[in-house]
């Protein structure tokens, strides 16, 4: 009888430790969000979003005079949005087409090889993408540029979109495709009017998650887009991004007061993308 009690005690012990340890996992999320929110909110003004980052000189002068450090992150915001647009413009269509191909030809050798390569590319550390694009684009173009940065982000985004499209199309019942073709539809129209719309919710979720993944990336941009002190619209020139600015503020003691507000903006952006991807998943069920 005592032995049974001990066994039941052990079972309860496991249950409680599961609950306690799992609850501990929520601690870092709360701690990180809390820290960024509290510290970041203090210096966050509307101007912060519309002014470029200050130079070290401006920052030193302001703090010597006892003022708050002027400036914001507009150069980073513009750069982030421009580079996101450029990389999405290439990686979304190519990724979706490739994903459709992989799902439609899943049993062929070429699709299997391509699928495995997608895994490799998805797993490649982002810093390596940065140095590769440095070798491919920055050296031939003789200079850092937003184009190089966008290509690095594009390479990062591509496998994520390929994978989510592939999974989405694979999950569709083959009877939709058969029904469309049985009506005499061309293959193109079957894909365009039946397969892609039916998989749209999942593909869109995948795109949102891919964007949220790359929007916070610093490593692939350090040696490609480099960063820029002013709001830059010329994509052949170096360009800043929000994570690059955070990295710059982190390394420059005089600019550190701007660090948390910039992080807060980035974090809100990323979490919004994440949450909207969840909403899309739930809303867009067929």
């Amino acid at each position: 009888m005592d032995k049974l009690k001990f066994r039941i005690f052990k079972s309860h012990l496991l249950h409680y430790s599961v609950v306690v340890l799992a609850a501990l996992m929520a601690v870092p999320l709360v701690a990180i969000l809390g820290k960024v929110a509290v510290e970041g909110f203090r210096n966050l003004t509307l101007e912060f979003l519309f002014q470029p980052a200050p130079t070290t000189y401006e920052a030193v002068m302001a703090s010597a005079a006892g003022h708050a450090i002027p400036g914001g992150i507009s150069n980073g915001l513009v750069g982030t949005l421009l580079m996101l647009l450029m990389s999405s413009a290439i990686s979304i269509p190519v990724g979706i087409l490739s994903g459709v191909f992989l799902a439609e030809h899943r049993s062929t050798v070429f699709a299997k090889v391509s699928s495995y390569m997608t895994d490799i590319l998805q797993g490649t550390p982002s810093i390596i993408l940065g140095v590769i694009v440095y070798a491919w684009i920055v050296i031939p173009m003789k200079g850092y540029s937003a184009i190089a940065g966008s290509i690095a982000l594009c390479i990062m985004m591509l496998p994520l979109i390929v994978r989510s499209t592939e999974e989405a199309v694979k999950m569709l019942s083959s009877s939709y495709k058969e029904a469309a073709l049985a009506l005499g539809g061309s293959y193109f129209r079957t894909v365009w009017k039946v397969l892609l719309p039916s998989a749209f919710g999942q593909i869109f979720t995948g795109v949102l998650l891919a964007v949220s993944r790359i929007v916070g990336e610093t490593a692939p941009l350090m040696f490609t887009a480099l960063g820029c002190a002013i709001v830059q619209w010329d994509v052949t020139q170096p360009m800043s991004s929000v994570p690059l600015l955070i990295w710059q503020f982190f390394n420059n003691p005089t600019l550190q007061p701007l660090l948390w507000s910039a992080s807060l903006v980035l974090l809100v952006f990323v979490l919004l993308l994440n949450v909207s991807s969840k909403i899309v998943t739930n809303k867009w069920k067929i």
Binding site: S17, L21, M117, A135, W136, A219, W260
Partner: protein, 305 residues
């Protein structure tokens, strides 16, 4: 009439045979070309990593480069070896894994077994997804400004920047990844197996030990392999927390550098032999990462079957 019709049909048939590039053929070609992009990038990446690191491997030889712990660049006497960074990477990764295992297992049990299907499990799923979504530079900041002072206060390290600190934050970063993947496999354990064990009078803990873990084990193992892959390539967090010194780490509390962080630190101002050596490190990291991913994927495929 009939013959005329069929003649017309046949004629138009012939015509469409002549247009070799029908819209559908072109569309299929486009799909094929799109599917070729990723393999091309992969192959080109491998080739350019190899060609850009050739200088370093020619100078030092592959094995000397991998096993040398020198990283010095005085004028005219350059000596580069990857060992400190390989060791730094392995040490920080496996330490992070050690921290990660208990937490991700319990979260996986929580979500996939004990509270499976309930609202609280969905909430935890959301928490893990959000944690996985936080950019690594923000993890780095949090580690630097929150965790590092704690490490200093505990007297573990003078500066607080050391392998331990980096590993702790890495662990926080990979727990959600390993946990959500493991939970999937725990959920896949068939209810009949568990019911059979309960029917013989086993307690819940005994069912976990004798049924759930053996059945989901290989899947959970592959989840950890993939989590290792995640930690291996992590750049910004580690760069901000590991102390960035180019020597073999002597203890968990000493500073160091990983393969990713040395590239982040020194690539910007490198040229010649040093640049090539950094490309060589990138190549080694790429190879290790591809290998780990391959193993992980194979294990996952087996586990899913």
């Amino acid at each position: 009439m009939n013959t005329l019709n069929s003649y017309r049909l046949r004629l138009s048939e012939k015509m469409s045979d002549l247009t070799i590039l029908s819209p559908d053929t072109r569309f299929k070609g486009l799909l094929w070309a799109a599917a070729l992009v990723v393999p091309l990038i992969c192959v080109a990446m491998l080739l350019s990593l190899i060609s850009d690191s050739a200088l370093a491997f020619d100078e030092f030889g592959f094995f000397r480069f991998v096993f040398s712990s020198q990283w010095s660049y005085s004028q005219g006497n350059e000596n580069y070896g990857a060992l400190p960074f390989i060791m730094g990477t392995l040490e920080s990764t496996f330490l992070a894994l050690a921290f990660c295992i208990p937490f991700s297992l319990t979260v996986a049990l929580f979500v996939g077994e004990y509270y499976s299907g309930r609202k609280i499990a969905t909430l935890f799923g959301t928490i893990t997804d959000l944690l996985a979504g936080i950019p690594s530079i923000i993890y780095g900041l949090w580690g630097f400004y929150v965790l590092r002072p704690i490490v200093v206060a505990l007297g573990l390290s003078d500066q607080g920047s050391c392998i331990l600190t980096a590993s702790l934050v890495l662990a926080v970063m990979i727990v959600p990844y390993a946990a959500s993947l493991s939970a999937e496999f725990i959920k896949m354990v068939p209810a009949e197996l568990k019911e059979a064990a309960y029917a013989m009078g086993a307690t819940r803990a005994e069912v976990m030990r004798t049924v759930v873990f053996p059945a989901a084990g290989s899947g959970i193992f592959s989840a950890f392999i993939l989590a290792i892959g995640r930690a291996l390539g992590e750049t910004m967090t580690v760069t901000m927390l590991i102390g960035n010194t180019n020597q073999l780490p002597t203890s968990l509390f000493s500073t160091g550098n990983t393969m990713a962080s040395i590239i982040a630190n020194q690539f910007g101002e490198a040229d010649g032999l040093k640049l090539s050596s950094l490309f060589a490190i990138a190549l080694i990291l790429f190879a290790i990462k591809a290998l780990i991913n391959l193993i992980g994927k194979i294990l996952i495929h087996r586990a899913q079957r």
